[in-house]
Amino acid sequence: MTVGQWLPTALAAHAPVLLVAVPLILSTPAAILRTGRAGWAIALSGALLALLCAVELFLATRADGAVISYALGGWPPPFGIEFRVDGLNAALLLLLTGAAVLALIFARPSVENEINADKRSLFYSAFLVSLSGLAGVAITGDAFNLFVFLEISSIPTYALIAMGANRDRRALTSAFNYLVMGAIGATFFVIGVGFLYMATGTLNMADLARLLVDMDGDRVVRMGFAFILVGLGLKAALFPLHLWLPGAYAYAPSFVTVFLATTATKVAFYVIIRFSFDVFAIDSGFVVNALTYVVTPLAIAGMIVASAQALFQTDVRRLLAYSSVAQAGYMMLGLGMGSQAGVSAGVLHLINHALMKGVLFMALGAFAISYGVRRIENCKGLGMMMPMTASAFTLGALSLIGVPFTVGFISKFYLIQAALAQGWIFAVAAILISSVLAVFYCYRILVNLWVTPIPEGRRDLAQPTPYLILVPLVGLALANLVFGVHAAPLVDIAETAAAAAINAGTGS
């Protein structure tokens, strides 16, 4: 185990557990403090610490491609709970914590705008728990532990979404829907894990992988896989299991939407990759068939139908939420190909999608703070009044469309190359149709932003965009551009991750 360069050795050695523990621990003081500012500071420091740990772990895995294994409480795996970091989840952890930090920077003005003062510290506390849960899901090497973390992350998320009720009562039903669906998903997952335990007698994922190689024909294993895939598909909003998502994204507080859009579904997606390629052997016929005949068609259907749904939305956030479902289809498509190139493209799009949706939702948050903009026709003339924010939004939209030299183009490029390598012309066609639909739904917003004249009276309401929003917003927007131009690092990460996922399964 290599020592990272960032943290003192003592901390570095425990980085895996700190990453999860710090936000969890800090959530308590955040809840106790009664002012939002203090809560925010604690949450931010927790996220920053987590980020540091993630960077540490990321560099450590990058250094020699090693797999970091951390045995909780000194119990060695497979008997104790193991935290396990390789190329795949190191990248995810980095994305998760980074997104958390940026979202938190954005959070202060946003939360002050949207959440009642007496609930702000609780809000941050819930957020920290959720972050901790997500990090745990990403890092744990134990299947049951993973379920636990999944619940830890989900429950505060329901609460966070419900806090949107302050602004729109529909947030409550959305949160409830999400709760029901999340519970079903988690239950399915745990049922699947149960089946696996029944078949193999172990819960450690590395151990499972080793044992499952020879249990290809076992019906119980197959049952387990089906439950796990569907359960996680629910969390990852795989079409048509996405029905909870638009409401949740649309009515949650802006900050929650930003955070969820960039992280929550991504983590579920990671788990699907982990199980499909690593825990189950990718050369198992049932995995390949499930990916090819179930996941891929659904992914393609999602890409097109959800884009069409986006096209007809009147609420900007709902529009983007449907777009997210479509984009999740892209990732699933990459996954469905079952090849390393496909997984790599999927992971790349996972990262890139976080970048673009982060920008878009943040910019929407800024619009909402300044003008209370919710609907598309309310965007009229914003380009002239908030040029920086609108420009960032435009950049994000272009990236979503896939204009060259944005990250969106890069992921589409790799996805299409992977599809072509597979000979899946229909997949290429689906990507392009979805892209064209993306053009149209982005156009609907952009034309209102830039071309239509400013309505009477709107000019008087002008408020400057808070710097705390502008900084992460512009940073993310530039990241869209920079990684669109200099794609090598992200591509490298994605390829490493894909290699980790696939080779770990077959190699170990």
């Binding site: 204009v403 299409i416 392009l432 892209s435 239509t452 004249p453 794609a487």
Partner: protein
């Protein structure tokens, strides 16, 4: 830093952007703003002239790399230098004209107008100088986006609708067809570079190659090959200088230039001959030529008629590219230049009529030529050049294309060109004749001086250009011949 072709290459791309910033910064002072535009345009022309001279060296720059073989890359070659020269040269004239037109008609948002104009030119330069398909695609899209506010300039519902169709068709075709073709080229060859003699030969069979060719031909919607042409007539809601930009300077020319460049440097002349789709597309182009001309004849709106004329004329280039014999390709390349000068003259004259007399329909033009003799004379010259009669430049493409069709073993393709010529006469010359010799009905003659001087000087310059180009064909051929005769490296 020393003065090298590479530096000039970058400069040609950046100069318009700097100009754009200048325009934004000076937006409050219209005179200064226009001066900035003109200075930028002038400097750009100088740089491009230098580029034309060094284009034989084919300098190239890789700005950055996305993936192996997939870079933002610029490469100077004669075809691109020619297009850059056309675009930059006409930009300066169009800018002169714009000042007269925009002020004469009291248009709003002029700063945005000039800014978007400079961005469009930058994008056109990018298209001209692109070194691979990816770069071409990027600047192609940038051009679509940058011209959108220009088309929607008036901002009313009609303008927005026209502009929506404009952008919708262009983006849909480019993303739906052009982009996958680019990806497929990369998938087949591991590169999208423009290489003399083409890169696809040997990498794909005739069927795959044909499909690619079809994707390019229709995906490059700016070339307005029927049936992807409707954006062009719909873009007529724009102010006249924008129409001139669309039709002559940048947009449609970028489209046909892209097709030509793709055919020459991606498919390669020899490989094109083996593709069954090339013949089919040549016939589609031929039919486009004729059908668009027929439609043009039925249009009474001045600009709509010119728009369909453009659709027809653009297909000459596509036709030349699809015939893909050296003479036909030469004809296609020369058509880009000649049509640019002819059509911009027509548009500026049409704009002059609008500015001076407020007329937009052809049936209103009776006797107007006697009040605006220069405007109508230059319109006549432009029309004759488009029709293709000596001594105007427009005749050369027709000659080369006919020769190319004959060389390609399709002498009857010339019938299309003959028919087109007759139709051109039918829809262009009556305008002039109506203006000069029909008695006006209820039209009060303008006061002299109503039309700003620049609004007739600018088309006069381009009209003179059509004559000059007729005589300058020799150097132009010498300049372009290496492009079309270079064989693929063994």
């Amino acid at each position: 830093m020393s003065w090298t072709p590479e530096l000039a290459l970058i400069l040609a791309l950046i100069l318009p952007l700097i100009g754009g910033v200048g325009v934004l910064a000076l937006g409050r002072n219209p005179d200064m703003r226009e001066t900035a535009t003109l200075i930028t345009a002038g400097t750009l022309v100088l740089v491009v002239i230098y580029l034309v001279q060094v284009s034989g060296q084919r300098p190239e720059i890789i700005v950055f790399e996305l993936a192996p073989g997939l870079e933002l890359k610029f490469k100077l070659e004669p075809l691109g230098a020619m297009f850059a020269m056309v675009a930059s040269g006409l930009w300066i004239i169009n800018s002169l004209y714009s000042t007269a037109y925009m002020r004469g008609n009291n248009e709003k948002n002029q700063t945005r107008f000039y800014f978007c104009f400079t961005i469009s030119i930058a994008a056109a330069m990018g298209v001209a100088l692109s070194g691979n398909l990816l770069t071409l695609f990027f600047f192609y899209e940038a051009l679509s986006l940058a011209t959108y506010p220009l088309v929607a300039h008036k901002g009313d519902a009609k303008a927005r609708r026209g502009a929506s169709i404009y952008l919708g068709i262009l983006l849909t075709t480019s993303i739906g067809l052009f982009l996958p073709a680019v990806f497929a080229v990369y998938a087949f060859t591991g590169s999208t570079d423009f290489v003399a003699g083409g890169i696809l030969a040997g990498a794909t069979g005739p069927i795959a190659g044909s499909i690619l060719l079809v994707l390019f031909a229709f995906g490059i919607g700016k070339a307005a090959l029927m049936p992807v042409h409707p954006w062009l007539p719909n873009a007529m809601v724009a102010p006249t200088p924008v129409s001139a930009l669309l039709h002559a300077v940048a947009v449609v020319k970028a489209g046909v230039f892209s097709i030509l460049k793709t055919v020459v440097y991606i498919f390669g002349v020899d490989y094109m001959q083996t593709l069954p789709a090339a013949d089919i597309l040549a016939w589609i182009a031929g039919l486009s030529i004729v059908i668009a001309s027929v439609i043009a004849m039925t249009k009474d709106n001045f600009k709509a008629r010119l728009a369909y004329s453009t659709v027809s004329q653009l297909s000459y280039v596509t036709l030349g590219a699809m015939l893909a014999s050296p003479a036909a390709l030469l004809g296609a390349a020369v058509q880009i230049v000649m049509h640019a000068y002819g059509k911009i003259t027509l548009f500026m004259a049409a704009g002059g009529v609008y500015t001076g007399a407020g007329k937009t329909e052809i049936s209103q033009l009776n006797g107007l030529g006697r009040c605006m003799p220069i405007t109508f004379t230059v319109f006549g010259i432009g029309a004759l050049s488009i029709i293709g009669v000596p001594p105007f430049g427009g005749v050369w493409p027709k000659i080369f294309l006919m020769q190319g069709a004959a060389d390609d073993g399709q002498p009857w393709m010339t019938l299309m060109l003959i028919g087109s010529t007759l139709l051109n006469i039918g829809y262009l010359l009556p305008i002039v004749i109506r203006g000069f010799s029909r008695p006006g009905s209820g039209f009060s003659p303008m006061k002299p001086g109503n039309l700003p001087a620049l609004a007739w000087i600018a088309p006069l310059i381009t009209a003179a250009g059509t004559v000059a180009l007729f005589f300058a064909i020799g150097p132009l051929i010498d300049f372009l011949t290496p492009v079309f005769t270079t064989q693929r490296a063994p």
